[in-house]
Symmetry: C2
Subunit: 337 residues, 2 copies
């Protein structure tokens, strides 16, 4: 942020060459960090919530299918309803895994996965997602990775669109979404448009793509946010994504180990294959206040449980910005209980 | 920005009490600064471009009417087409005034005015706009004030919706739009929804209003942008809007006076009633490069002409952040030509 102020980024025109160079740095950096295939395009939006809407507008004529297991996956489904599509869903209760191989109708155009349910700490195993590429080859596989990237080592060739926002795993100020789509998504949006279906206005895939090819955006974007993302991505590439992933796994392992052995708190998600590494949710029941107080005294602020679980759960973010030392202090503190 | 870093705003949760208090400060400050009637509601979006889309979705079933006199007013019209409405327009060539009392069909639901065409420096006189409240009382009057607010002293009771983005007259980093709507707009969106028309998803007027009543947003917003806006608005209230407006008029007057008397540059907009006070466009023809060079030597950067006029015009922004001394230096420099 201090570098941004020195470089006068907050007043930089988004039609300037310098902005185009920042845009290019951000996209090139993300391509390298995430090892994206060449047929993926990257677009910027105001939020991941906006991307839910743009996905439904641009990639669904009628039938989307949603795997719902918490507030965020449910909202994605509801947006499809609000936009007058005919979405279907398979819903499981919060904290639970999905059964393997859900039967999904062959006329499904898009399957929506929430890789990491921020509300409950359930994360979908990657092979579970990829399997639908085999069972439903004509559907577009779309993955909400808001609170997991850059941790998951996705095989993007088995997916069609992945998106995130920058305030979680990238540790940046909120107000920017990143939407990655492959050529199948481009073709689908073109197809809907050629059928005379409205796919939106300034943030349609064709409009985003035309501008992205010039390292531009259709609207005046969050220039500062894009600049900050370019710098954080550069830093992550320098640290090495392998190292970031290993540290994330280590930090998750020590916390889950502690949750397993302490009496006053236990993992909310019991199926280990579905336990999130990046948002770890603990059932804390009547001990919530005591645990929160203890951690605050040590200078750590756990997240409240989501919605109805506000007073009976705590959520621990495990992002690249959280150091190993921070997690070691966290588990040492919890072991005092 | 430095205060924001000190207060840790970039990592503030948008579901926190502190965020709600910042939201409230911003809205209360804008109400005071702009003297908004009590029946106006304020919403935040990612950009003013987004607001064009939300206006068409939420406030038009079929018929909008657009006064088109440049790139931005034209884009607003095109968005209505992309969203499958039936917009009409009256188009005049760039830099020209509209005739008085355009005949607008009585079934028009919304009339779209671009108060200040950033591309050409044409500003609509306020009485010209208000007149349509008399001739078309059933239509909603919607004003794009992106590059004019906080300068214009609108009588909001004669309008229904006004919007702007923060990177122009408020001098802030881009990535935030402010959308002001009155109760007639709320009723119109509710009416469309009750007719079974899709008005969008997370950024519909009903959703924005429900959240705004709690000083919240439907999505994770640009928290830093909202905070910075609260501080700039607080500063403007302290300086006094009357003083800001008088200074804007003074700065515009000295620049237009110079344009009138210099041979190498003249005002592009010749009808004085339509000359913008906040974006002053000069025809510079073959002298563009020479003038740009002269100003750069004095430490000033004029804006290029827009689109096809890139090499034959210069645009001078006259926002609250530009001091009287800055404009005096500008006209002294131009008089050396």
């Amino acid at each position: 942020m201090k570098a941004a102020l020195r470089e006068d980024i907050p007043s930089l025109s988004h039609r300037s060459k310098k902005f185009e160079s920042i845009y290019k740095d951000t996209v090139d950096g993300l391509r390298e960090l995430l090892d994206l295939p060449a047929d993926y395009h990257l677009f910027f939006t105001g939020s991941a919530t906006e991307i839910w809407e743009r996905i439904i507008q641009n990639l669904v004529e009628k039938n989307s299918f949603h795997l719902v297991n918490g507030s965020f996956s449910k909202r994605f489904f509801e947006i499809a309803q609000q936009l007058h599509k005919k979405p279907s869903k398979h819903e499981v209760s919060a904290g639970h895994a999905f059964p393997n191989a859900l039967p999904i109708s062959s006329d499904t155009e898009l399957i929506a996965f929430t890789h990491n349910e921020t509300s409950t700490g359930v994360s979908l195993p990657l092979d579970f997602i990829y399997n639908y590429k085999v069972t439903n080859p004509s559907a577009l596989l779309v993955v909400d990775a808001v609170s997991s990237l850059p941790f998951p080592d996705f095989d993007y060739s088995k997916l069609d669109s992945v998106f995130f926002s920058v305030q979680k795993g990238f540790g940046l100020p909120a107000g920017l979404g990143v939407w990655m789509v492959n050529d199948r998504c481009i073709a689908k949006a073109d197809e809907l448009l050629s059928k005379g279906i409205s796919i939106g206005s300034y943030h349609t895939i064709p409009s985003l793509k035309t501008h992205a090819l010039k390292y531009q955006t259709p609207e005046t974007p969050n220039v500062l946010g894009i600049y900050l993302l370019s710098k954080v991505v550069e830093d992550m590439v320098r640290r090495g994504i392998g190292k970031i992933r290993k540290e994330t796994e280590y930090k998750a392992a020590v916390l889950y180990q502690t949750l397993d052995k302490q009496a006053d708190l236990k993992p909310f998600v019991t199926d280990k294959a579905f336990q999130s590494k990046t948002v770890i949710v603990a059932d804390t029941g009547e001990h919530t206040e005591k645990i929160t107080k203890l951690l605050l005294e040590k200078g750590m602020q756990p997240g409240d449980g989501y919605g109805a679980s506000k007073k009976s759960q705590l959520r621990f973010a495990n992002f690249p910005t959280h150091s190993k030392e921070h997690f070691e202090l966290l588990v040492d503190s919890l072991e005092l209980l």
